[in-house]
């Protein structure tokens, strides 16, 4: 019979483990609270304005989506207002976002051919169904309002979920995209965990399948006017100025489906770091052609946390998450990577 460790040693180890776990938990709780203030709360508050400035898909993302075979099922984690859900009408997209306000916006857009589309609303009476006797059965003959959906995204769907606790089953989907999301997580462990979650949800790597596309903001933005570049501070609070007039105009442009993203959502503030580790900077947003604006005294300013990725860092995080790099690159102020699971299930590879 194998000797059992003495109870005192076992107790000491248990105590150490407990202490380590508690410390880890404290750090996690702190990171969560920080992101609640500097990411989730901000997106809830700026959702309509943010959404009105987001309609043009990134070219490389659209290319990735169009490369998926018809009938593929994919995730858009951090789908925001759902601008990618209808890009390829031959695939089914399941969009998720941490912000209920953005998900509600995304849902209202589902099935519309474009932003100008109007959803026909019809009232139907659901037919009486065979007597369901289970406790979970549904209202059998209630009337319900349904929306007539015509656009490609009518087969897509959205839900509210945290990227670190995704509710999708393992290897459930053919592909996943995660655009401009992971840079909002405030520790490296959490950013890697987010990538791990994406990899968990896609099928094992096979030719062209099981791919995950991740886009993050780059530190190296020499060509932009934001003034960030190699060697600079990577953890920033980036202001979003909620201009009431801008908001109205942006929404109008959105309805016409041809906004030019000239909205003033940038501001120059140099008030120093709110937290010891975080600098404040002027900024816009990936995908926009910025016009630096001056915030008036009354416009509310929301500061979002960003981790700007330096060259090579995204690839490092993918590897740390157990993935492999298929391709990677840089597109207008962003690093991107197409990754897959590191351990292919069927065919052995070196």
């Amino acid at each position: 019979m194998a000797a059992l460790p003495s109870s005192s040693a076992a107790t000491a180890v248990a105590r150490l483990n407990a202490a380590a776990t508690a410390a880890q938990r404290d750090a996690e709780t702190e990171a969560e609270a920080y992101e609640r203030t500097h990411v989730h709360g901000v997106y809830q508050a700026i959702a309509p304005h943010f959404s009105a400035t987001r309609h043009k898909p990134w070219p490389a993302v659209a290319l990735f989506l169009h490369a998926q075979p018809p009938g593929s099922v994919g995730l858009d984690v951090g789908c925001g207002n759902g601008k990618y859900l209808g890009v390829n009408p031959a695939v089914i997209m399941l969009g998720s976002d941490r912000s209920p306000a953005l998900v509600a916006l995304a849902r209202s857009r589902l099935g519309r051919p474009d932003d100008a589309g109007i959803q026909g609303v019809t009232k139907i009476r659901s037919e009486a169904r065979s007597a369901a006797t289970t406790a979970t059965s549904t209202d059998a003959a209630g009337s319900a309002v349904s929306t007539g959906q015509g656009g490609g995204a009518a087969i897509s769907d959205v839900l509210v979920a945290d990227g670190l606790s995704l509710p999708f089953r393992d290897a459930a989907v053919d592909f996943a995209i995660c655009v401009a999301v992971i840079h909002h997580l405030s520790t490296r462990a959490r950013r890697q965990d987010a990538i791990r979650q994406l990899l968990r949800c896609v099928k094992p790597r096979e030719a062209g399948s099981g791919q995950v596309l991740v886009y993050v903001w780059a530190l190296e933005q020499g060509a932009s006017r934001r003034g960030w570049d190699e060697g600079g501070e990577q953890d920033l609070l980036v202001p979003w100025v909620l201009k009431s007039q801008t908001q109205a105009r942006a929404q109008k442009e959105c309805r016409h489906g041809q906004a030019t993203s000239k909205d003033v959502n940038t501001a120059v503030t140099n008030t120093g770091g709110e937290t010891p580790s975080t600098a404040t900077a002027s900024a816009g947003e990936p995908g926009d052609t910025q016009t630096a604006g001056v915030a008036s005294q009354t416009d509310p300013v929301f500061k979002r946390y960003y981790h700007l990725y330096r060259k090579g860092e995204l690839e490092e995080d993918v590897l740390a998450a157990g993935g492999v790099i298929i391709t990677s690159g840089y597109e207008r102020d962003n690093w991107w990577v197409v990754a897959a699971n590191g351990t292919p299930s069927s065919r052995p590879e070196q």
């Binding site: 009938g71 593929s72 139907i124 979970t136 549904t138 349904s146 959906q149 945290d162 053919d174």
Partner: protein, 127 residues
């Protein structure tokens, strides 16, 4: 939320994922609505192999729909069987759970669905 989507979902709690009881989630007090979505036989044929058929059978029964066959139809069967095609299209693509809950069979946690949107954010003690 579409019935199709439910087939890809499980409990958001990490420790539930390894349990077969966490999939599929069970609808509770579900109010359904039916969308009009143009039928696309090719899309349906492409999607079927991506579904967990047993889970779909469970969901279908729990929502009060007629029971599905033991095995999924082959693409040939599907194109030949107009009724089956229509039924599956209606169930997967057109049927939405507008209000209600989704319950994990492992931990018992209930996720609310409101205005067609399921919310999988966890209370902090379950993260």
């Amino acid at each position: 939320m579409k019935v199709l989507t439910l087939n890809f979902l499980t409990c958001a709690v990490k420790s539930c994922k390894s349990s077969s009881d966490s999939f599929p989630l069970h609808p509770k007090d579900a109010e359904l609505a039916k969308d009009d979505v143009e039928i696309n036989p090719q899309l349906l044929a492409n999607v079927l192999p991506r579904l967990d058929w047993n889970a779909l059978r469970t969901t279908s029964t729990e929502l009060g729909f007629p029971s599905l066959p033991d095995q999924p139809p082959s693409p040939e069967d599907l194109t030949a069987d107009e009724k089956m095609l229509q039924e599956l299209h209606s169930l997967l693509m057109e049927t939405q759970i507008m209000e209600g809950k989704l319950v994990c069979g492992h931990c018992g946690h209930e996720y609310a669905i409101r205005e067609g949107i399921a919310n999988f954010l966890l209370p902090s003690h379950l993260v």
